[in-house]
Each structure stands twice: as structure tokens, then as C-alpha cells.
Symmetry: C2
Subunit: 593 residues, 2 copies
């Protein structure tokens, strides 16, 4: 029914007969002629219906927005005065010679000429996706994932599928469970990642694996999370972490060259400890020039407990952010920032304005000035290289509170003061993560996952002193987003058992949950390492949107609902009976709508 | 750690230094030398450790089967007398100069030199996948799916992901359900196919969609079914069924050329009615020359109710299969075939041997000969062109019983009498399926699915006379396997509602289940058609295996279990509580193991 896509027409087609299929994007009647913009997935072209072409005007006159039509016509150049430079096909138009209304449309429940609420857009997703802005994103996603496949195929990676109906894993987030009909009372889990399967594939000798694969996390949803998300999952044998990073960094660099015409250059590599110290975050946005500067040593002896107590506590941190030109902040603004850091547990936000550096201590304004000696003040000014007009904002608390509060504040300040170079790209690798983190009860948890190898240490050494060891893990960060993460894996039964023990997983539990892995590690497991990228996030960055739902054809809301189909929904009681499960909602809780 | 894969070594590498990584496939000690076959994913090469190379023999002597090693060495040509022609790398060997034992292996629980039970192979899947026979299949699968993607990408199809957590559909098989934590008491369903989503993508204007996607069916499992399976899912707008078939047939033809070096030629197209009549099946294996021949008209008046009753019943069928040379069948063999057709509901298996055609009726041997007049016998011989030495086997019953029984018998006879040309390829399209089939209570069911368009008929005409209408559906059949199936879809709200009504889905149910589809059909839906291939089956055929588990890295058993991980398993009671569900096993039923 079609000889060419509308969006592909240009001057080279002038005088050709064409058949087009698409939708009426717009209609204008002018001087007895009817002009329509015909839209298909590749673009829009103008079609003119002229009364001189017999027998067409009645049909053309019936056309309304979003009617689906087939049009035959002749391509003609527009006169210079009518060339539309905002339109890719703006140098030509089609003189309609035949018109078939393939399907009519009722007036749309979305107005394409204005903002629609996201709720409405998601309810009528199939219509919202007709907007070129949206369909371009979905097309870019298809092209990006095809690009990734070609890159990995050409690097001898094998695309191998792993199960979706699998066994529950103990990773951070919660599993979606699927009741089994055959084994009543038993459940499958949807994978949070194919982690163990890809490791087993290395044990099978496949050497280089990838998969672009759906993963699932049943957790509280944030703006950039979805209950199901897509991972570019990669695993290799016999490569060091440097080599894995080199291969995958090259992929991202080539991707950005292809899709953004941007050379990301070689990615800087930063230890976790440095990232936390300078940016309060393990995924710092390096487009933001603000840094967090440690000042505990300067304030150890001040008579202000808020500063001196954490400065003298080995689990504490005292640090400042210097905002150049920030002395203009009003009391109200400072109050707002104080509330903001409060979200992250900070109990206040001390500040110090450098109103006039030339006046020395006299030129300083600060509610805590009375606690600070001239030496301390000079020390702070020197350490931060503060200039007239700058402000220092203090964080003083437990180390993780300061990191979270100042880390978040840094991002906010960067945007508010227009310091973050939003038009740039800032990739980096964060490496040398700690193996474990301690919770409030003193239990250790894996920072990556329990299959991550420690760096340069034996199982015995690790067990003797687990708390301060580093793992051979790495995250790829781009503009403050963690776009990928991975590690060298444990390939040795003894080390794996040691890590399980450190994590408090007893022998029985090890067998129940990971018996197959421990068994598999006995038979000549190769050293292996891998990584997973979040495809949704990569595409989000390529598209320049910060809403992950924009790059997913049929996304769920932050409440994990599909507004279009109304999933999830109440199940057929017969079906539940066959699955041997019953809904058990405690009376105090709300039932599903 | 590696400079080249073992399997890629050949004479062109002679005198080169190489670094290899892999597993000890075999070890032989001979004349003071140690020979090992080193295996990686690309193949096997022989490595020689010679005492003349200092300091290696102790380590080499420690090598056992499946040790993971890194070997450095020099490639050298084997003397002519030692060239191994059964080995791709058999013209060369490596003189080992350095050896690192990367990881040791305990003795394997599988014996690679003999058959292992499938249970054992599935339990130790990661080891079974080391066998080149198995890993070659997984590699072929990766290459096949990459091939499909390249074909579809180059034909302007867009790879678009659809949700896995979705809404229950009413298709034939049963849904896997996933309880929602956020909406307690509500459930997602895992998709049996992305059918409605791909139709909605056409309504969005994406025009050509594909996805290689996991689908799920919670039904009784047969040898060639898995609870999760992979579909090459395709949908197009503005194409006729002929055009969709042409594009997809070309893909399969090019695939067979690429992977089997076989030209499948142009696929014959056969109406469903002809397939059922000649082969008793809608997925006939055309490599089998046997056909089912209707003879009801010949036996309408015989005094043998078993034949004459169905011959006079419009829902009955009387037909024969002629087996050339089949008159040699023993009584025992005929008894076995009689039992065999009994499985399909046939109450017996009348037969007629042509012992000597020249003797006329005298040369005929049959338990029912006394009921058959000379005319009837001659009619049968003529219709089937039976020759001396042939046998006719009768089916007489309800039409579907005869089709099933003789259809299955035909396959069995083709194999037993070595008539089926197993070394050949026989593709075809089956088209013109009925829209509906009637169950025993007289209710109509969709033969494909309720979104399939009828062929050349209005909604009013369809509703007036639904029982005998054809759909614009098509199945691709290869060697008796349905490898793909699809249809033109309904793109019109009125037609869709008519079909729902015919299927007994009332207004309320239409709104609850398909409200979004009926709504979407109001806004200029393009005509669209598509198809889905079973990737597992295609790869199975490419690999020449008839066990679908052979082409899936981590398959489930026919009981839908994973023997390696022990999924499904009993869930954490805390997790169930959070999901607001309880296990409710009736006391008479068995609990999960």
C-alpha cells in the first residue's frame, strides 16, 4: 500500500508517483485547496488536494485529525517562497491524485498541541506514542540496542538466554514471586539479574556472554526505577577488571559517537573512597564543579560541639562545600537548604559567608563565628581557597549522614547556581568499593553482591579482617547516573564459602540457596568478570530526558500500575484455586482498588 | 590471558607463540611425553609437554580432566603420519612452554564418554554444556537469533520491548500470575504473547515491529514445550497476508541457506481444509508421502455400520491410508497399529491387503471383505491406485477422530516403513483456517485468537453466519512442526465487538478485559498483520535434535522444574505475608516436595 515513507521524501523524488500511508497530522483549508500534513513513523509531508483533480475533494473534505489514510500523488517542489525549513520534507509537497480513508478517528482524548497530564498520556499510551517526540525515543532505543548487539557480536560475545522463571535470590531488592501450578505451594522468582546463570555459563566455557534482558525488582519505585527494567548483561572469562572495563567503555564511547556525535574520551577512574570524600556519592556528577572538602582537623578544638564532636569521632565527618558567589544567599534560601539537608538526616546547616576577604575576620559573616578562632577561620578560607562573595556550607555528623546530605546539597547547589555544565558529558569509573558495609547492628552486608571477589587477598586473610577490605568491583557513572556496574567474581569454592560465612549465611542456608553454585565451583571454574548496564538509563541519557518512562513503550507508574490495561488486576478465583493460593489481606490493610 | 581460541588454530599459525586458556579435555602419557587435548568454546587442540622443556613436567603431571589452565607454547605442524583428520586443528599441535593451573577440578559427576541420564545432565547443566555437542547448539542459537535480528533490522523492523508484568489474557493456555505487593490482592500475568501490545504499537504508527521475547504458558508440558519459550514476534501495518508471508518466508529461506546450506525454495501454500483432508493435520510433514484418501462415497451402502454410518453422517469421515508394500504387515503389527489409533479415539482399524491384484477380488485379504461388494473393492483399489503388496488401513468415525487417528498413524507408518525422507526439508504455509471451532456444547471458540480478522466478509455477515467462515490466518510448517503462525488482525471496533459477541464475551467482560483495545480501535487504527515464530523450534530444527531442552541453556523438565537450582521452591513466609497471599493446598492434594 506504500511506496515510500513520508519522512523520506525530498527533492530527489520530484515528479515521481508515490503511494503513502499514514495519519492526518493537521489540516488547513486555504483558497479552495485542502492541505494536510501526512505523518508516518519516519516523518511528515504536506499533501495538497486541488479541485482540479477530479473526484477527490469530497473525500478530502471528510478528513479529520488522525484519520488513517492511503494517498497516491505526485511529488512536486515547493516554490521557494513556500519552502518550510523547519520540516525535513519542507522542500517538497505531494499533489494528491487518489485518496482512501483506511480508518476514521474519533476526536482524540489527548491534545497533541498542548501538555497532557502524565496520567492521561499513560492511559492513552498508544496515542501518546504517535507524537514524533515520543516515537523518536522508542526508535532511538531500538537503534541503540541494535548497536550494542552489533558491537558485542563483533567482539565474539554470545547472546545466551537465561530463565525468567527462576529461584529466589538474596539480593538487596525483593523478588516477584510466581506460584507454581505443578508444584503446589512452591514459587518461582523473577530474576533481579541473571547473575548466577551468567557465572554458570562461564563455568560451562562460553567465555563471552551477553544478553539484553528484562530484570525485575519489587521495591519502592523512584522516578528512575521501574518494576521491570532492561539490562545489557555481560560476562567474560579470563579477563581482568581493567580489560572488562576497556571493552565496555569502548562500547559506550562508540555509542555516544554514533548517536550524539560526542567523543567521551577516556573515562577517568576514581576509587570509591575518593568519590565519597570529594562528592559524598559513589556516582558523582562531574559536570558539577562543587566539591566537599574535609575540615575536621581544623575544627577539632573549637568550642562548638556540633563541629568538634564529629571531628573527634572516627566515624564522624566534618566537611564544607564552598559555593562561589554563594554569599548572595538570603536567610530564606539558607533555611530552605537547611530543610533540604534535613531530609538526609543532617541536624542543621552551619554557614560562613566571605563578605570581604580583604577585611580578614571582620569580613566574615556566620552564626557560628563566635566559636571560631581567627586561625580556624583562616584555615577554612585557605583550605577552600574561598574568595570574596563565596559561602561555605558545613556538614558535621556521622560520616554517612554528611556524605548523603552534602552529596545531595552539592547536586542541588550545582543546579540552583547554574554551575553544573548541563550541556556536557562526564563519564567516570568508580572502583575499589569496600567488600562489605556494616549495618547498625554490626552485621556485614555485601556492597555489590556476595559473588564479588575481594581485591588481592586470600580467603583466610579476608575472614580474619573482613571489615576493611576492598572488592574488585566497578561502576560506570555518567552525569551522575550509575549506568553500569560489575565486578570480578569469586571463582573458588573456599573463597565463596568464606564470604557466605562473613555475611552470616550458615552452612544449611548456603546449601539451600547456593548449593548448585558451591558445587559448580569445584569443577575447574575459570576466573571471570562481568558487568551490567541499565539500558533504560543509557537511552534516557541519549534522549536527553530525565524520565525513564519516556524511553519505555509501555511503562508502569511509580505505583507499579499500567494505566492503559489496568494491570495488576483482581485474579479469577478459579485460577487462584488451581494455583493453591489465597489472597490474605489483613483487615487493617487496604484491599486493591 | 589468551592470544587465540584453541579451535581457531591451523597451519597458518605454525611457529607462532600462543597463549591458550581452557580445560583439559583428555590426557595421554606416551613415551615420556604428556599429551593433553585443550578445549575452549571454539574447539580442541593438542598440547604436548616434553621433558626437554625444563620445569614443566611436574605441573603437567598434575593435570586431570577439566582442570582449567593457561598454556603458553609454540604452534608446530604435526608430521603427516600424525595428522588427525577428525579434528579441525588436527594438522597442528602446541609444544607447551609454560603452564598455569588456573583452577583444579574434582572428578566430574558426569561421564563425558558415555550417555548420562537426562536428569543427571540437567542437574549438572553447567558441566553438560561443556560438551561440544551441547555448546555448539547454544552457539548456533546465538548466531540464529543474531541472524534474525540483522534480517529484520535491515527490513526496517524496530525492536520494541513490551511488558512482562502484564494483564491476564483469555488465550488458550493458562497464565502465570504474579502477586502485586503494592496493590495487595491484585495480580500481574506473564504474557502468553505480546499480541495486544504489538497491535497497539501498530496503532501508534511504528509500522514494523519485532521482538525476540520470552513468553509463558502454564500448561501441561510436552516434549517440545517449555513453561517459558522464546518467540520471534513480528507485526506490520499496511501489508497484506501475502506480503507478510513473503517477508517472513524469505527470512527463513535465508536462514536455512546460511546455516544449513539448503535452499528451501518457494513454500507451497495449502488451505487448512486440504491439509486436514490429505494429512489429517494442520501441520503436515510433507516429507512423508502417505496421504489420507476419502472413501465415504464408496462405502455409503455397505452392510457394515462401522463404515456406512459415518459415511452417511455429515460430521463423519471414512478414509483410508494406502501403505505401499504394507501387505507384509503381520497380524501382530496390525494389532499394534490398532492400539495406536485407539489412543486417538478410533474404535478399531479395518484393513485390506492387496495380495495379488491380478486375481481381482480373490487376491484381496480383509476381515471386512464379506461386507464389501466387488464394486466397492474395485472402487477402493482404483481410488487409491493400490498395487499388489499394498495395504489399505481404514478410519471411520467422527471427522475429528478420523483426522487425529489417521493423521498420527500416517506419521508412524511413514517412519516405520522408512517412507518419510528424513534427510529432506519440507516447508509449507497452511492458510484459510476456520475462524471458529465448535465445542461439544455448541459454543464457538477462536481457532487462532479473538483478534484474528475474517477473510473477505463484513461484521454483519460474520455475525449472521459465524460457523463456517474462514480467517485470514496462516501457519508456517516445517517438517511437521508448526514453526510460526500469524494472521491479519481486526482493525475495526465494530468487527472486534462482533467477534467478542460470537465468542460469548458479554459487554461487561469486553470492557473489563479489552476496554483499552476497543477504545484504541476508535482512533484511526491501520490495517495490520503479523506473525510469531517459535525460536526454540527453529533452532531445534537447525540443530537436528527433537528435544527442545537441547537448545535452551537452562531448560525446565516436563514437570516445569529446574533440576540445577531446584526452582520452584518453598517461599519465605515473610515474603508471602508481604504479598498478602497464603498457600492454600486442599488436604487431599499433595504439597510441593
Amino acid at each position: 500500500m506504500r511506496s515510500i515513507y513520508c519522512g523520506k521524501l525530498n527533492k530527489s523524488h520530484v515528479d515521481q508517483q508515490v503511494e503513502l500511508c499514514g495519519w492526518i497530522n493537521k489540516r488547513r483549508d486555504l483558497g479552495g485547496l485542502i492541505f494536510v500534513d501526512l505523518r508516518d513513523r519516519e516523518g511528515i509531508v504536506q499533501v495538497v488536494f486541488d479541485p482540479e483533480v477530479e473526484g477527490l475533494m469530497d473525500k478530502a473534505n471528510a478528513l479529520r485529525q488522525e484519520f488513517c489514510v492511503q494517498i497516491k500523488g505526485v511529488v512536486r517542489a515547493r516554490p521557494d517562497s513556500q519552502v518550510n525549513k523547519d520540516m525535513a520534507t519542507g522542500e517538497v509537497e505531494i499533489l494528491g491524485t487518489d485518496l482512501t480513508i483506511v480508518n476514521r478517528s474519533e476526536p482524540l482524548p489527548l491534545d497533541f498541541n498542548q501538555q497532557n497530564s502524565e496520567e492521561r498520556r499513560l492511559t492513552y499510551r498508544y496515542l501518546d506514542l504517535r507524537r514524533p517526540e515520543m516515537s523518536d525515543r522508542i526508535k532511538l532505543r531500538a537503534k541503540a540496542s541494535s548497536f550494542v548487539r552489533r558491537y558485542l557480536d563483533s567482539n565474539e560475545f554470545l547472546d545466551i538466554e537465561t530463565p525468567v522463571l527462576t529461584k529466589a535470590t538474596p539480593e538487596g531488592a525483593r523478588d516477584y514471586l510466581v506460584p507454581s501450578r505443578v508444584h503446589k505451594g512452591s514459587f518461582y522468582a523473577l530474576p533481579q539479574s541473571p547473575q548466577l546463570f551468567k557465572q554458570l555459563l562461564m563455568m560451562s566455557g562460553f567465555d563471552r556472554y551477553y544478553q539484553i534482558v528484562k530484570c525485575f525488582r519489587d521495591e519502592d519505585l523512584r522516578a528512575d526505577r521501574q518494576p521491570e527494567f532492561t539490562q545489557i548483561d555481560i560476562e567474560t572469562s579470563f579477563l581482568t577488571s581493567d580489560q572488562v572495563r576497556a571493552i565496555t567503555e569502548k562500547m559506550i564511547r562508540e555509542m555516544w559517537l554514533e548517536f550524539k556525535n560526542v567523543d567521551l574520551g577516556q573515562f577517568p577512574v576514581m576509587p570509591y573512597s575518593e568519590a565519597m570524600s570529594r562528592f559524598g556519592s559513589d556516582k558523582p556528577d562531574l559536570r558539577n564543579p562543587l566539591e566537599i572538602v574535609d575540615v575536621a582537623d581544623l575544627v577539632k578544638d573549637v568550642e562548638f560541639k556540633v563541629l568538634s564532636a564529629p571531628a573527634n569521632d572516627e566515624k564522624g565527618r566534618v566537611a564544607v562545600i564552598k559555593v562561589p558567589g554563594g554569599a548572595v544567599m538570603s536567610r530564606k534560601q539558607i533555611d530552605d537548604y537547611t530543610k533540604f539537608v534535613g531530609i538526609y538526616g543532617a541536624k542543621g546547616l552551619a554557614w560562613l559567608k566571605v563578605n570581604d576577604l580583604a577585611q580578614g575576620v571582620e569580613g566574615i559573616q556566620s552564626p557560628i563565628a563566635k566559636f571560631l578562632t581567627e586561625d580556624v577561620i583562616n584555615g577554612l578560607l585557605e583550605r577552600t581557597n574561598a574568595q570574596t562573595g563565596d559561602i561555605l556550607l558545613f556538614g558535621a555528623d556521622k560520616r554517612n549522614v554528611v556524605n548523603e546530605a552534602l552529596g545531595a546539597l552539592r547536586i542541588k547547589l550545582g543546579l540552583d547556581f547554574e554551575l553544573t555544565r548541563l550541556d556536557q558529558w562526564a563519564p567516570l569509573w568508580v572502583v575499589d568499593f569496600p567488600m562489605f558495609e556494616e549495618d547498625d547492628e554490626g552485621n556485614l552486608h555485601a556492597v555489590h553482591h556476595p559473588f564479588t571477589a575481594p581485591k588481592g587477598i586470600t580467603a583466610e586473610e579476608l575472614e580474619a579482617n573482613p571489615a576493611n577490605q576492598l572488592s574488585d568491583a566497578y561502576d560506570m557513572v555518567l552525569n551522575g547516573y550509575e549506568v553500569g556496574g560489575g565486578s570480578v567474581r569469586i571463582h573458588n569454592n573456599k573463597m565463596q564459602q568464606a564470604v557466605f560465612r562473613i555475611l552470616g549465611i550458615n552452612e544449611q542456608e548456603q546449601q539451600d540457596k547456593f548449593g548448585f553454585l558451591l558445587e559448580a565451583l569445584k569443577y575447574g571454574t575459570p576466573p571471570h568478570a562481568g558487568l551490567a548496564f541499565g539500558l533504560d538509563r543509557l537511552v534516557m541519557l541519549l534522549c536527553g530526558t530525565d524520565n525513564i518512562r519516556d524511553v519505555i513503550a509501555f511503562p508502569k507508574t511509580t505505583q507499579a500500575s499500567c494505566l492503559m490495561t489496568n494491570a495488576p488486576s483482581v485474579a479469577n478465583p478459579e485460577a487462584l484455586k488451581e494455583l493453591a493460593i489465597a489472597v490474605a489481606i489483613a483487615s487493617s490493610e487496604d484491599a486493591a482498588e
